[in-house]
C-alpha cells in the first residue's frame, strides 16, 4: 500500500532524509519511531503530498505522490503533529466542511458525521464550538476529519502528543478500532509503549536514515537485546547480587527492595544453568522471571551510538 524507495530530501546541504526505503502492506499498522528531527515528519509530509522529495520515489496505493497527488490525496487521511482548528465552527460544521472538501454530498455527510463522532466519542459535543473542546477532544476530532472520506491509508504524525494519560488511552482505543477496520496506518510517536500494543511493524529512523524495519519481535531477535532477569529471594539478596556480578553473561546487577535485577546476555540454556546454580548455592528463591523487553529497549539499543546498527 505504501512503497518508498531511495527517498531523499535535501534542505541546501542538509539531508533530512537519505535513501529511505519503506514497504508497508495493506492493513498493516506501521510504527514510525525516531528521535526529534530524525525525519519522521518529513517522510509523512512527502506521503501526504505536502513536500516534494529531492529524489527517490514514494507511492501510495500504487500512485506516485509527485505525479498523481490528486489520486494520493483521495486515498490518505493525514493528521499533522501540530494542527489548528477553525475555532468559530461547531464540531459538525467542521466535519461538514472537510467532507464537502472531499466531494461528499450533504446527504451522505448527514449520515456519516454522527457515525464518525460516535467512533471518536464526541457524539455529545456535536453542537459545541470547536474552540471549547479540550486538546484531547480536538485530537479526536482531527482523527474523525481524517476518516471523513474513508481513506485506505492513515498518516498520523504524533497523534497522542500533548495528551494526558486518559486521552492517550482513548486515542489508542480508537486506533485499535481503525486497525480492525482494515486501515493501513503509519503512525509516529515518541511514547513507545503506546505504539508497542498496536503496531504490526516498526521502522526506526535516525539522522534521516532508516536503521531498522520489520516486526518488533524480529528486530529484538536480530539485535539480541539483553534480557533482564528479576529474582526475588526470601533473604540474602545482597549476597546473591554480589555473587552474580562474577557470573558469565551477566553485564549488570542491581539490587533493591523488589529483588535482584540481572542484565543477562546468555540464551535459554545459560539462563537455566544460572537458575540451577542459584539453587545449588542454597538461596531460597520466591520468583525468577524474565522481564519483557519492549519497544523502548529496541529503540534505545538501535539508536545508541548514533545508529551504528543498520539493518536491511
Amino acid at each position: 500500500m505504501i512503497e518508498i524507495k531511495n527517498l531523499t530530501k535535501m534542505y541546501g546541504h542538509f539531508a533530512a532524509l537519505k535513501d529511505v526505503n519503506i514497504s508497508i502492506g495493506k492493513g498493516t499498522v506501521f510504527g514510525f519511531v525516531g528521535p526529534n528531527g530524525a525525519g519522521k515528519s518529513t517522510t509523512m509530509s512527502i506521503l501526504a503530498t505536502l513536500l516534494a522529495p529531492t529524489s527517490g520515489s514514494a507511492k501510495v496505493g500504487g500512485y506516485e505522490v509527485t505525479e498523481y497527488p490528486h489520486e494520493v490525496r483521495k486515498r490518505i487521511g493525514y493528521m499533522p503533529d501540530f494542527f489548528g482548528v477553525y475555532d468559530q465552527f461547531k464540531t459538525t460544521e467542521y466535519l461538514h466542511f472537510y467532507g464537502a472538501s472531499y466531494g461528499i454530498s450533504r446527504a451522505e455527510r448527514e449520515q456519516l458525521i454522527p457515525q464518525l463522532l460516535e467512533l471518536v466519542n464526541l457524539s455529545d459535543k456535536q453542537d459545541v464550538y470547536v474552540d471549547s473542546l479540550s486538546r484531547g477532544m480536538k485530537q479526536r476530532l482531527c482523527l474523525a476529519r481524517c476518516l471523513v472520506h474513508d481513506p485506505d491509508v492513515l498518516i498520523l504524525d504524533e497523534p497522542a502528543s500533548g495528551l494526558d494519560p486518559r486521552a492517550r488511552i482513548e486515542m489508542r482505543e480508537i486506533l485499535k478500532e481503525l486497525k480492525l477496520m482494515g486501515k493501513t496506518i503509519i503512525i509516529s510517536s515518541h511514547i513507545l509503549p503506546e505504539l508497542a500494543e498496536m503496531v504490526d511493524e516498526i521502522g526506526v529512523i535516525e539522522h534521516g536514515r532508516m536503521v531498522a524495519q520489520g516486526k518488533v519481535a524480529d528486530i529484538q531477535n536480530r539485535l539480541r537485546v539483553k534480557r533482564v532477569l528479576h529474582i526475588r529471594l526470601l533473604d540474602r539478596s545482597e549476597e546473591l547480587a554480589q555473587r552474580l556480578r562474577d557470573e558469565l553473561h551477566v553485564s549488570q546487577v542491581l539490587c533493591d527492595e523488589t529483588g535482584v535485577h540481572v542484565h543477562f546476555g546468555g540464551g535459554d540454556a545459560e539462563q537455566s544453568a544460572l537458575l540451577a546454580s542459584i539453587f545449588a548455592a542454597g538461596f531460597q528463591v520466591i520468583s525468577f522471571h524474565e522481564a519483557q523487553s519492549n519497544l523502548e529497549d529496541v529503540f534505545l539499543e538501535i539508536t545508541k551510538g548514533g545508529g551504528a546498527h543498520e539493518f536491511a
Partner: protein, 338 residues
C-alpha cells in the same frame, strides 16, 4: 446539484461563515463607515468654509464627489492588503493549511475562494458607504452612471490589491512579510507612478521646448500616469483629462490621447492580476501533478488496479511480495509509455 453548491464551493462557504461570525468584521464595517462619514464632513467643511452662507451648487457637489472618491480610493488601498495578505499565510500560521491542502479542493479553488471572500467583504464595506455619497446627490452635479463607474473601478482596484495580497501571502510564510510586501507594491502603484509622471513630465517639457523639435501629436509621459489609480479615476470623472496628461497638441489632426488613462490602467493591471493569481495557484502546493498523456494515465490506472489486487491477495501482514509486484507494474507502465 443545486445552484448553491455550484456557486459556493466548500472553501468559499467556510470563509463566508467564519468571516461573518467574527465580531471584528462588524467593527471593521462600522469603523470604515465612520471614517468615510468624517471625511465627507471634512470635505464639506473645507469646500464651504469662508463663505457667508452654506450654499452648495452642482459644481461644489461634483468637487465633493471627486474628493470623496479619491479619499475612498486611499482607504481601499489601506484596507485591501490588510484583508487579503494574510489569507494563506494566516492559515499556515494557524496550522490549518496543511489539512486543507490534503483535501480534494484544487489550488485554484482555494486561492479564488479566499480572494472572493475577502473582496466580497471589502465590497460590503464599500456598499455600506453609499449613504455617505447620498449627501452629494442632494445637490446634483453627479450622475448615477458616474457613481457606478467609480464603484466598478473600486472593484478593480480591490481585485488588483487582493491578487497581490493573496500572491504574497502564498509566497511568504509569515503574514507580516506578506502584508509589508503588499503595502510596498501598493505604494509603488499609488505613489511612485504619480511621482514618476511628474518627474518625466518636467524632463519631457524641458527637452521638447529646449530642442525646438517639430510639433507632435502627444507625449509618451501620459503612459506613466496611466499606471496610477488616481490618474485613472480622474480620467473616469473627466474624459478630457487624458488629453491633458498626454499633452495632446490641439493644433494637430490627431487631437485625442492615444488611450484613455483608465483603459490603459485596466489593460496593464489585468495582466498583473492574472499573473499574480497564476503564481499563487502554482505555489500554494509544493507538489503539483505533472502533465501526462491520457494513454499514460490509463496505463497507470491499470497498474494500480493490479497493485490493489496483489495487495489484497497478499493479505494484511505480508509485504515481501510488494516490491516485486511494483517492479512488474513499473515495467508495464514503461512499456506503455514507450
Amino acid at each position: 446539484m443545486n445552484l448553491r453548491s455550484i456557486v459556493m464551493n466548500p472553501v468559499l462557504d467556510k470563509e463566508f461563515r467564519l468571516r461573518m461570525r467574527s465580531a471584528r468584521s462588524a467593527f471593521t464595517v462600522l469603523a470604515y463607515v465612520l471614517v468615510t462619514g468624517l471625511l465627507a464632513m471634512g470635505i464639506i467643511y473645507v469646500l464651504t468654509a469662508g463663505r457667508g452662507t452654506v450654499r452648495v451648487d452642482s459644481e461644489t457637489s461634483r468637487m465633493m464627489f471627486y474628493a470623496l472618491s479619491i479619499a475612498q480610493l486611499v482607504l481601499i488601498a489601506f484596507m485591501t492588503p490588510a484583508l487579503t495578505a494574510g489569507v494563506i499565510s494566516g492559515e499556515r500560521e494557524k496550522q490549518t493549511l496543511n489539512m486543507l491542502l490534503t483535501t480534494q479542493q484544487s489550488s485554484a479553488a482555494i486561492i479564488l475562494s479566499k480572494l472572493t471572500s475577502s473582496l466580497s467583504f471589502m465590497a460590503l464595506i464599500i456598499v455600506a458607504t453609499i449613504p455617505v455619497y447620498s449627501i452629494v446627490f442632494l445637490y446634483g452635479g453627479v450622475s448615477m452612471g458616474q457613481l457606478a463607474s467609480v464603484f466598478l473601478f473600486y472593484l478593480f482596484i480591490m481585485l488588483l490589491l487582493g491578487a497581490l495580497g493573496v500572491c504574497f501571502s502564498t509566497l511568504f510564510k509569515r503574514t507580516i512579510l506578506a502584508v509589508i510586501m503588499t503595502y510596498g507594491v501598493g505604494l509603488a502603484i499609488f505613489l511612485f507612478t504619480g511621482l514618476a509622471y511628474l518627474f518625466a513630465l518636467g524632463i519631457d517639457q524641458a527637452n521638447y521646448y529646449g530642442s525646438g523639435a517639430p510639433p507632435r501629436p502627444y507625449s509618451w509621459v501620459g503612459y506613466l500616469l496611466g499606471l496610477n489609480p488616481a490618474g485613472a479615476l480622474i480620467s473616469i470623472f473627466e474624459p478630457s483629462f487624458s488629453n491633458e496628461v498626454f499633452l495632446v497638441q490641439r493644433s494637430n489632426l490627431q487631437a485625442t490621447a492615444p488611450i484613455q488613462l483608465w483603459q490603459q490602467f485596466l489593460l496593464v493591471y489585468s495582466v498583473v492580476i492574472v499573473l499574480m493569481l497564476w503564481i499563487a495557484v502554482r505555489k500554494i502546493r509544493p507538489v503539483r501533478a505533472k502533465r501526462r498523456s491520457k494513454r499514460s494515465d490509463a496505463s497507470v490506472t491499470q497498474a494500480v488496479v493490479m497493485h490493489s489486487e496483489a495487495d489484497s491477495q497478499e493479505g494484511a501482514s505480508t509485504t515481501s511480495g510488494e516490491p516485486e509486484m511494483m517492479k512488474k507494474v513499473e515495467r508495464e507502465v514503461g512499456k506503455e509509455q514507450e
